[in-house]
Amino acid sequence: MKKLPPVALFGIVGLAFILVGLLQSWTLAITILNDGLIVAIMALGVNMQWGYAGLFNIGVAGFFALGGLAVALVSQPVDPAAWAAGTPRILMALVFGAAVIWAGVQTYNRMAAGRLRTLAMLVLLVGGFFLFRAIYDSAANAVEALTPAATGNIGGLGLPVVLSWLVGGLLAAVAAWGVAKTALGLRSDYLAIATLGIGQILIAVMKNEDWLDRGVKNITNVGRWPVPYEVDLQQNAAFIARAKAWGMDPQTLSTIWVGLCFTALFTVVLLVLLVLMELALKSPWGRMMRAIRDNEIAAEAMGKDVKRRHLQIFVLGSAVIGVAGAMFVMLHGLLAPTSYDDPLRYTFLIWAMVILGGSGNNWGSVLGALIIMLMWDEAEGMGQFLASHLDMLPSVISGNAAVSKWVVDNAVYTRLPVIGLVLLLVLRFSPRGLIPEK
Amino acid sequence: MTFLIGEKMTGGYGPVDILHDCTLAVDKGQIAVIVGPNGAGKSTAMKAVFGMLKLRGGQVRLDGEDITALSPQDRVAKGMAFVPQTHNIFTSMTVEENLEMGAYLRRDDIKGTMEQVYHLFPILKQKRRQPAGELSGGQRQQVAVGRALMTQPKVLMLDEPTAGVSPIVMDELFDRIIEVARTGISILMVEQNARQALNIADMGYVLVQGANRYTDTGEALMADPDVRKTFLGG
């Protein structure tokens, strides 16, 4: 099969977005584009880990959620009541917990193997665990008891939300470092299972620790500076005048304008990352990564520190995913921890993007992300579309109320088999993806 | 009358040929031995004869029939058996199960053949309920040979059956192999212990870099001063 050049492929995708804008609505096109830019960044992170280094991370959703958490912690107003009630004690407990684990690792490494060491570890860890719980439980409860309907969590730092992108990356990096330290030595599919586990645990923590992020009660007041709010625009005289001049109603224009602001912001981030990653890939470091991926044993024999390189790239890739997570929460103005509990959407979909685009190729990952997001989001409206165009369907369906209801209700799920099919077809007929690695 | 012959075989694992016009043959009820330095392509030649390697040239004939295109399984059905150099037993299965798996293609009663194998290798009967992976190196080789014999083959191919085996056990094994040959089974075998092997060989092949260097009766090769000097250590 002859391959289209990348420019043409991006052109086709661009055209598809324009078609969505013309045929459906520009708001929708921009919404999908913004989602697409975010998942493109996630895909870059996964591509770093898998494409550059062959590391199998399927805990993507967890790192992504962690990035979202950063938004809450950075941008929420400082909550003095929570600080008075228990925030310091919670922090202390966490530091204490970390210290116990550190001490445990030290004991394990320093002491000679034997019954004594087992005993010491047991006492340390079990004792440490109960002490931790003693400090932590009461403090967490105290914080959660504060005006639970409105806050009930530790609040944040009251800083500009854009900062959370960095913090999100940082949080994800720290978590990834922990995972990498324990699990990176494992074989690829074991590592995959381990990352799946970590991802689920991270999300479980965010769902259940109300003091942290209000859990299922969600956080909405996250801010979006420098992007303006629609309501503010709609009350701005100059803006209304401009909308009039362009013959649009201010409401629509404000949505589009806000969307475009996000698009611009995200595009800048994406491009910066792309450039950095391309540079890294072409540097000696990138060449070494690929050498390690292609033949780990040979690279090791040549004196490359494979484990260290893997650690580096795992942490970096996860950090990129964390950045995307922070951007995502900022875009939607909502941190909803439960929503992350969907590995299909937040982990495996990203994998499909990387594979479709071409493992190891950054541009490919971006392309794959835009295509798959388009398919995914378009399917969202399919039920509605079918419902309003029932007469276009064969009479077997439109004639029978139960059948047509079933079709309308289930239309959205067609995206799952479709994506699966795309993935399988790519793997089978074009395993190097749309834009193969050079 | 040549029973099995791989004639002018050329081929390898990838684009590079390992075998170059290599010919190996064995007559009915005789023993043919292949010797040569490490990496000469002995194992590769055996795989080629057994259909585990794509040949780019040459052919393999069994009893006059061209079998070059047959898969290894089909060759088993035709009466060939092969004991590879490594990984030649099912380590997690008992000795008896190993033998049963050897006879997988047979639908008749295999009790008699199994008794014959036990008769040939009495130690296996003692250990028949033990996982083969727990046996000693020599015992494992016996299991491997026994497994191959279970199909009641007409030709038995052995790739270094005495690898990692003490001299005493090695002599034992050679005796058993001669015994097998006496029953009319042709034996094509690769051996590292060239002297002993050529001693019992009707035909000997010296392979170097994937090509026949010397081909003669075992006796003649043993007598040839060049062969002695380079391959038999004087």
Binding site: F56, A204, L344, T414, L421, L424 | V76
Partner: protein, 337 residues
Amino acid sequence: MVDFLNAIVALLNYVIVPATSYGAQLALGALGVTLIYGILRFSNFAHGDTMAFGTAITILVTWLFQSWGIGFGPLPTALLALPFGIAVTALLLLGTDRMVYRFYRRQKAAPVILVIVSMGVMFIMNGLVRFVIGVQEQNFADGARFVITATQFRNLTGLDEGLAVRTSTVITVVTAVIVVAALFWFLNKTRSGKSMRAFSDNEDLALLSGINPERVVMITWLLVAALATTAGVLYGLDKSFKPFTYYQLLLPIFASAVVGGLGNPVGAILGGFVVAFSEVTFTYAWKKVLTYLLPASLAPDSLVQLLSTDYKFAVSFAILVVVLLFKPTGLLKGKSV
């Protein structure tokens, strides 16, 4: 003494009985994963969805039977429907193998490629399950709910604590024992079963012995269909059916298979129980049992729950990591491709 008995009963009721039935369900799930790993040599991420699919079909057939007025007395109708669920799942798996996996097998593709391929299959099966039955929770258990209720037990023994034994628990354990016994009989005593073990042990030598790999693979998928559907139906009878929950079972099931040693059927069973018992032990509030056992002055006032049930994944995960760090091939020797 009575306190001691009460403690034992409470322990049985809240820890041992639930963990046993959960462990049996995990073991059956893990057996499927481990068989696929042993024969086809990859970790199948579509296994949770396979379980969900088999269960969904079984539920549909159950509803059909119920609408015809067919029941199974005190036992759940689903048990009658189970063979149908297995059959349809087997067809699906064989079809998938023919259309998807076989190609890669012929190519001798790296295991990690097959893992990614199984992701694609996972998407498709996930969608399929939603089409078949939707995403909502379904309760399809009928028949008698309890073999003995807590009240009956209390009246019977005069203890304060009750021991409730649910029908689903008994069915789970009995079915699991039967299925496992049949599986092991098959693997150890039949020609086909032995050829599977041989293939798993040493693929090349199996080929040299004339074992037909396609046949081995086919039998494997049939067994996997039976194991996965049975595991799914038992889990659904015990708790309830919800596609997403089944999807999430992937982690504890993988943990069980890996902890026991991937590719090792006995290991899968051991792993299932290790994971189940740890999960329940860590997430159970021990206050009740301790109150019975300790003198009043020492009685705990907190729940003595080591972890909230929301963190049960953490337990599977922790066991997984600890075992892998110290015994990389699992508790019983697994294979490493």
